[in-house]
Structures are given as C-alpha cells and as structure tokens.
C-alpha cells in the first residue's frame, strides 16, 4: 500500500526538502524531533573511548610490518624494554599461547579456506600493517618511541596483489600451506537455465566493472581500553565498536576468558560505516596484555595506522552479462565476481559479496539469473563490510548494465527500466533470486524524482551541447535502486552459513515516577537511536518524549543484542521496542482493570490513559499504573509486581527500501573535470519515525556513494604499500567538493513489520554511485565511451576522451 504524501505537500517538498519534517499523523511517529544526543556532542562532553583515563593506565603501541609478505626470522624487543617508561614488550611468539586467532563468523562454503589470523603475526607477515610486536608504556609518546627500538629480521617473500594474478597458475601464495589463493567459490542460480535463456535472446551486453578498494574512514579512529580486575579475573573492555555484544562473545571464544567475566562497553562511538563491525587484533591484544600485566591498557590508532590496520571496503571485479529481446524485455543476467578478501578473513569478509548476490536482479523481472563469486586472497589489508556491504556493488552493476543495454537498443534508459521493473500492483513479488519483496512503488518514486529534476529541460540542454560540440558536456545518470535491509531473519542467515542470528532485543522498564527506560541491543554510533527510540516509545505508551531514557552499548546494562549494521536498527531493533511497548500496555491494562474495578476487556488504552468503556470518568494513566505496580499493595491476584516487558524480535523477512536517484554532471572534456550540477533523489524507506534523521542519513549516504564514483581509491604500489596511506593522500570529499542534494520521499509501508519501516542507513550509498557514473558515461557517449573505472578522476576522463573510449 502506498501512502502518497498529498499533492500539495509534494509540490512543497519539491520546492523545499524541509517540508518533509512536517508531521503527517498525530503522535510522535513522523515528527522531526531534535536529537537528544546533540547536547553533549555540541559542548564537548562526549565520552569517546580515547577520552577514558583510568588509574595506572598504560598505552599500547603496535609495531607493524613494512613488508607485504615476508618470513619473520626474529623479533628482538629487548631494546624497547630499556627505553624510559616502557613496562613491557611482546612479539607474536611471546603471545602465541594466549592470543588465539581472530574470528570469521561467515564460512560461506563448507570447504572455504580459512587461514589462522593471529593478532600478532608469529612466523610470517602477509600485508603491510600486519602486527608484529607490541609495546606497553606509561604514556603515548613513550610507547611510540619504543617501537623504534624493536629489531625485526624479515626474509622477504614474493607478493601477490591483484586478484587475477592471484588465481592464475604459478602465482605466489599468500598462505603457502593452503596451496591456493582461492578462498571459496560460491555459485548461485535462480529461475531458468541461463545459457538456454541466453540462446533465445536477441541482444547480449557484457561489461567488466571494477569496485575499487575503499577506506571506510569513520572520523573517530578505533580505540580500545581494557580495565582488568586481575584478582577476580574480570575484564571491562571499552571499545569504539559497532558491536559490543558480538565482540563480547568473540573475545571469550578467542582468548578463552569466560564470557561472563567480560563486560564490553561501546562508549560514544564516532561513526563506523562497517569498519567498527569487527573483532580486531588490537582488541584482543589489549585484553591479553592487560590480563598479563594486571593493569589497564589503552590503544588508539593513529589515522595512517588505521588506514592499514582497519578493514578496507569493496574491491571486486564484476563481469556482468545481460541478455534481452530486441524490444527490450530483459531475459537473463549473469554475474561473475572476483572478491578480494585481502590477506586474512575478518568477521564477515567472505559474506560481503554473498549479501550482494541476491541484489543484482534488483527491481527487474527476468527469467534466469546466474551468479558465481570467487573469493581471493591477496597481500593486502583484509576487506569487510563497508556501508552497503555487497549491495552497492550489485546495484552499481545492474544499474550500469541497464544503461548499456538501453544504449545498445537505442532506448531511453528510464523507459527501458520502466518496461522491466516490478509494477506496483505486482507486489508482493518473488524475484528470480527467491526473495519476496513485500512492497514497493517504483512508478511513484520515479515520477516524483523526474518532476523534481526537470528531466526534459536537461535533456534539451544536453542535445544542444552535443550539437555545438561544447567542451563542457552534460550527462544524465539514473539509478532506480532497491536494497535488502533489516538484517535479518535468523533462519535465512543460517541457510547462508552465517554464524549467528539476526534478531534484536528490547526491554522497557516503567519507573515508579512515571519515567521510562528503554534498553536496546542496537548500538548507536551517530544515527540518533536514542531520539528515534524515545519517539517510538512515547508514541506507543503515550508518555512525554522527554520522559524516555535509552540504555544502549553496554553488555552489563543492555545485556542482549545483535548490534548495528545492515540498516537493521529501526527495522529490527525499533520493532522489538514497539512490541515490548505493546506487552507493557497489556500488563498495565490488567493492573488498570483491577484498579478501576472493571473487566480487562472493557479497559481501553489511548494516549497514555486507560479508561473504562462507557464510563469515561473511570480512568488512570500508565504512570499511575506504574506507581501502583511499584507499590504492589493492590495488584490482581497472582500477578508479579511489574509491568516491565522484554521482546526479542526475529524479523520474518528483509525489508526492501527503494528509490530513484537522478544526477546531472557537467564534464569538462578538455580538463576531464566532472562537476555534479544537480542531484535529485526520491527514497522510499517506508514509514519514517523522524524525517530529519532520515534525511541526514540520506545525505551522508549519498556523499559516500558519490565519493566512490568520483574521488576515493585505496591504491597500493607494486610492493604492496598503501600509497594513499594518510588523509593527505586519500581523497575524502570536503564541503566544497559536493553539491546541494534535493531529497524527496514517497512512502510505501513495509508490510512485514508493524511500524511499516524499511531502514535508511545505507540507501544513499547504494543508490548514488551508479547514478553518478551513468551520468559521466552519458556525457562521454559522443566520444565513444561506454565504461569508465572508478573513481572517474579528471585524468581517467581526459584519457578516455583522448582515446575515443578505449581504456
């Protein structure tokens, strides 16, 4: 069911995206509440992990390999131990007994090659940045100084950096003992046989797309502090992590310290984008070193250290083939992926491309789909989830190839999409991959986006510039995307061999003074969870927004959770809270009925008040019920004195946000410089809780997607050094590099959860990259260009113009 925002309001939104914050219904949902999080962040009273200081705190520094592949012949830490302020220093061999091996929770195939991954390398280093030794000293400067006094002898080994050489014969092996650089081969097919379908096609279009390596670069560097109570064998781990709950389990499994002896706290966390969805070497090292020394230990990465030692994103080669009839009906899609794992497997490294596997067919109907992914080891930093994780890659491939097919057929790219996409009336729709899309309205989002964009005028200008051979060419790019969010139904994760479930936990506690505490297992790191949770609870219980307090990010006080990633917080965690609230109301209704001396079935609940049907003066508020329950003097026979409630919610399906993004670029064919002239997006993320927060998520997502298209690339030299190893070299976009975004929304409620929500954290990133590149390629069509590698730097564009499209 699509709830079109009314016509007048749509017009207003086109003029001013702010109109989105207008409330559409009563109550808290859909209201643009100011964030509860902001006060401390705006006044510098934030509790970042690196701010934590404890009595006797020691600083840990990690010595890292300067070589991409080498045998370790010896590590001598004795020089470091003589430096002032140094308390201890350890090599990998020193910690071999206690450091364990870092976990990978996603063995995608039974025969997946899963090498050991020691927090400190013991015999061999396999990428530049692999840890070799640690120093612990009284302060940051002393521990950093002491690294220079450690002597390591290496015997250099040949390196393999690109995936195609890595899987060819006679190549150096990243893990000699494994006998191969192939980590896994994961085939998948849906619908009819692809080759038989292709035989019926009139047109076949093939392209090779490269997803360059990216650095997630959350603004807060990673950091960890471990506070031991040695005598009790008890450990508190503060970490700048997205996943305190998962981290606790994993630290127990890796170190052998019993799970109930470890408490993990994610204090205020400054962005993650997937890079803090992991279990890192330094978290384990700080824990085992703190245990050894019986003193608190802190490690904070420097930015250039983090660029080597924090996971990288993307890095795939995609061979994509689409086949269709002459009149434009898509018949089938074939995708062959090479996915770079890097040197080791981190928490979900192999699962990232698999998450994308189901998203290549996207919004289009087709008869046949064939997919194969080969995971490949190289001597580089491990890859893992980066905002979108698999889905941006898939969306890029399908939205790019749809444009190429349109070009091949001489069709308007939007017309071709419209012909092939799932019609609004066809929902729910089972895709060729076997996913059931519950709801969507691609027509509505597209219509609105085209109106906001002014498509006709831009096409006319493009034509004029082409005809006059203007050095500045205009290009128009489309991305009609969908994504799969709300990770995830546990049974689906199980069928994909993931090691855990996808539920989320919530608890609502009614305090005697009428205030409400919400405990959630979804851990925030900038999204504004506490504001959104407060709105959901205020709406459900009819209590003031200000009276709701949220408890998150600490395995003691929010003990159960699956944490934050995959646009899941609202869709899974928010729904868990909503359900817990419903349970509170049911318990409270029983107490209210007792107090009002009415039958439970006669007691209605509205806006925070229980009243008796037919006698409106007989009423009591939920706060009064909370106090009466606390006092417990007069409760229904046999009732426990509490109206608090828990919910652990496991979603029955993914959610499928979608939208239409349109981008106009001006490409200077003489300098190769691309400027985004206009960017319009209409996202359909279902119902929204806080439209301003939603819009902010879209802005940030767009920026990261645009950055992949135009600016960012992690580049290694032939020896495996990260050339873009500092913020001076890796081109993160600034305010001056980006356009103003015109954002809009349509609302097609999700039908698989009671809030009708779909998730928004990754939408912008997933949608924007192909919109921008389609626009660049469109601008360059007259020059014979039909593909460009990302990022579309001035040099790449200029070379393509000069060479008439051959790369």
């Amino acid at each position: 069911m699509t709830e079109q925002l009314d016509a007048g309001m749509v017009a207003e939104q086109i003029a001013d995206a702010d109109a989105l914050s207008s409330p559409r219904r009563g109550g808290e949902l859909g209201r643009g509440r100011r964030r509860k999080e902001d006060a401390k962040l705006l006044t510098g009273q934030t509790n970042w992990t690196d701010n934590i200081v404890l009595p006797g705190l020691l600083h840990m520094s990690v010595l890292r390999s300067p070589m991409a592949h080498a045998k370790i012949l010896s590590v001598d830490v004795s020089g470091a131990l003589e430096m002032p302020g140094v308390i201890a220093a350890y090599s990998g061999a020193d910690l071999a007994e206690v450091q364990g091996s870092l976990p990978c929770a996603w063995p995608v195939t039974p025969d997946m090659v899963h090498p050991d991954h020691h927090p400190l390398a013991v015999d061999e280093v396999r990428y530049v940045g692999d840890g070799v030794a640690v120093v612990v000293a009284r302060d940051r400067y002393a521990s950093a100084d002491a690294l220079e006094a450690i002597v390591v002898e290496y015997d250099e080994l040949p390196v393999v950096l690109d995936m195609e050489s890595a899987i060819s014969d006679g190549t150096p092996l990243v893990h000699e003992d494994k006998g191969t650089n192939t980590c896994f081969v994961w085939p998948f097919a849906g619908g009819e046989d692809y080759d038989a379908t292709k035989a019926k096609a009139d047109v076949v279009v093939k392209r090779r797309f490269r997803q360059q390596r990216l650095l997630p670069a959350a603004m807060e560097p990673r950091a960890v502090v471990v506070a031991p109570i040695a005598a009790a064998d008890d450990y508190t781990v503060y970490s700048a992590t997205q996943i305190p709950h998962i981290l606790r389990v994993m630290l127990a499994l890796v170190t052998g310290i019993p799970e109930h002896r470890i408490r993990v706290i994610a204090p205020d966390v400054g962005g993650g984008f997937g890079s803090k969805l992991n279990v890192y070497a330094e978290e384990v090292l700080a824990l085992v070193v703190a245990k050894k020394l019986g003193r608190p230990v802190k490690w904070t990465e420097s930015r250039s250290e983090g660029f080597q030692a924090t996971i990288h994103g993307r890095d795939q080669i995609q061979d994509v083939e689409i086949c269709a009839t002459q009149d434009g009906k898509v018949l089938g899609l074939k995708v062959d992926l090479l996915a770079d794992m890097g040197a080791y497997l981190q928490l979900v490294t192999p699962g990232v491309p698999i998450l994308g596997a189901f998203m290549f067919p996207a919004i289009y109907k087709m008869d046949a789909y064939s997919f194969t992914c080969t995971g490949v080891f190289t001597n580089k930093t491990p890859t893992d989830a980066y905002r979108g994780a698999g889905r941006p890659e898939a969306t890029y491939a399908i939205e790019r190839i749809m444009d190429e097919l349109a070009h091949e057929l001489g069709r308007d790219p939007m017309d071709l999409r419209r012909q092939n996409w799932i019609k609004h009336e066809e929902f729910p729709f089972e895709t060729v991959c076997g996913l059931t899309y519950d709801s969507g309205n691609y027509e509505a989002a597209t219509e609105k986006a085209e109106a906001m964009f002014g498509m006709a005028a831009l096409r006319a200008e493009q034509k004029a510039r082409r005809e006059s051979r203007d050095p500045i060419q205009l290009g128009i790019g489309i991305s009609t995307f969908t994504e799969m969010c709300g990770l995830a139904p546990s049974r689906v994760l199980g069928s994909l061999s993931y090691g855990a479930g996808g539920w989320e936990a919530a608890q609502i506690r009614m305090l005697p003074t009428g205030k409400v505490e919400v405990v959630s297992g979804a851990t925030p790191h900038g999204q504004g969870h506490h504001t959104s949770w407060s709105q959901i609870v205020a709406d459900a219980l009819g209590v003031p927004f200000e009276d709701v307090e949220c408890v998150t990010g600490d395995t003691d006080s929010s003990p159960k959770g699956m944490d934050t990633y995959g646009s899941r917080s609202l869709v899974v965690g928010g729904v868990a809270i909503h359900r817990a609230a419903a349970k509170v109301i049911e318990k409270a209704r029983r107490v209210a009925a007792h107090l009002l001396e009415a039958a439970e079935g006669d007691v209605e609940f509205r806006s925070g008040t229980f009243s008796v049907k037919g006698s409106p003066e007989a009423k009591t508020t939920i706060q009064e019920v909370a106090l009466a329950t606390f006092a417990a003097h007069n409760l229904p026979e046999g009732m426990e004195p509490t109206i608090d409630a828990d919910c652990v919610y496991d979603p029955e399906n993914f959610s499928f946000p979608h939208g239409t993004h349109l981008c106009a670029v001006e490409v200077d064919t003489e300098t190769g410089f691309t400027k985004i002239r206009k960017y319009v997006c209409v996202d359909d993320v279902g119902k929204v809780v806080n439209p301003v927060i939603v819009e902010g998520q879209v802005h940030g997502g767009l920026t990261q997607g645009i950055a992949q298209a135009l600016y960012e690339e992690a580049i290694h030299d032939a020896a495996g050094n990260l050339v873009t190893g500092t913020m001076a070299d890796y081109l993160l976009p600034t305010a001056a590099d980006l356009p103003h975004f015109d954002t809009g929304r349509t609302e097609t409620a999700s039908t698989t959860n009671p809030l009708g929500v779909k998730g928004v954290g990754e939408a912008g990133t997933i949608a924007s990259t192909p919109a921008v590149i389609n626009a660049v390629v469109d601008a360059l069509r007259p020059f014979g260009v039909n593909n460009i590698d990302m990022p579309a730097t001035p040099e790449r564009v200029w070379r393509l113009v000069q060479s008439g499209g051959s790369r």
Binding site: L41, L42, G44, M727, A736, F741
Partner: protein, 182 residues
C-alpha cells in the same frame, strides 16, 4: 622541558612540557580537556580545531610551547558562562544552537572542530554565501552528514549573528507542534 602558561576556556594552566608535545595532546592528556578530539595525523581533518585568540587553529599542527601565553577556546568553553572547570553551563553559542536546529551533526566527532571553524569563518565574513561556507570549511572533514546540514546551520547562525534571526530549523520542537496533528 619548557614552562608554558595558557588560558584554556577561562582557566590558566601552568605546566612543564616537552618541546615536541603537540597542543592537542597537551590539552587532552595533561589538562584533561578531552572535548577536542583527534581525527588524523596529517593535519587534514580539522577535528582538533580550537580558537587561539579568536582564530581557528588545528591544535595538532602547533606545539604546546607555541601556545605559551595564549588564550585558547575549545568547544567546552564556547558557550556563555562557565562552570568550575570552564564547562559550558550557560547559553550556547548561536553556531552550537544552529547545528542542533539544522541537524548539522550525526556522530558528532567532527563537530567540535566544525563549530569552531564556523565561528572563525563568521567572524571574518558575516554574510557568507553557500559557496563561501563550503570553501571556508574545506579544512574540516565530516564523514556522516554530507555537509549539507552543516552548511545550512552555518548560514542560519550567520543570519542570527547579524540580528536577522535564525533560518527556519529542520527539526520541530514540541512547542512548534502544539495543536498540529493531534
């Protein structure tokens, strides 16, 4: 070791420092003024921005000894009126207010630097265009917001500082909503 004295958010601190100690490390590790964070090691991100005698400076790009005798304002001292430790207890600066009203922050890690860079920008240009704001903040990276709402916030604060009142905010206070949609 060199003896330095500096006024940070209204409190004078005297310390012995190593000549190599960066101002940001001095603020954070010696003085415990941890409101100002560190985002890089190449002076690119601007997270560490503070005001030295009213001018925005990346505090990772100067040594503590260079700040001897200076008046330093961090995000913790920007609001009017200060508590015992110089903590902001009073009225927020218009730029702080505008950041909240226009959702100019998400994780907030870039925010201290962004706010102080904006304060300096507005001190030098009371009526910046959108483009001037975008270029003026080029030295401050944000990974969350896409900058659009930061730019809006700075333009709004500019308007307020000129006495023309803030631009209409993105968020609506409950007060704004009285009677709406009930």
């Amino acid at each position: 070791m060199t003896r330095v004295s500096m006024n940070v958010d209204g409190v004078v601190y005297e310390d012995e420092v190593e000549s190599r100690t960066l101002l940001i490390h001095h603020l954070r590790e010696r003085l415990g003024r941890v409101g100002t964070p560190i985002g890089c090691d190449t002076s690119n991100c601007g997270a560490c921005t503070v005001l030295i005698s009213g001018e925005s400076v990346k505090s990772c790009s100067v040594f503590a000894v260079q700040a001897d005798g200076e008046q330093i304002t961090t995000i913790q001292g920007l609001a009017d009126g200060q508590g015992v430790n110089g903590e902001a207890v009073g009225q927020w600066h218009p730029v702080q207010r505008a950041f909240q009203q226009h959702h100019g922050l998400q994780c907030g890690y870039c925010t201290p630097g962004m706010v102080l860079a904006a304060v300096d920008l507005l001190a030098r240009n009371a009526s910046p265009t959108e483009d001037e704001v975008r270029h003026g903040l080029e030295g401050n990276l944000c990974r969350c917001t896409g900058y659009q709402n930061i730019v809006k916030a700075v333009l709004s604060a500019a308007s307020e500082l000129r006495g023309e009142g803030p631009l209409p905010g993105s968020f609506q206070d409950s007060a704004d909503l009285t009677g709406v949609g009930a």
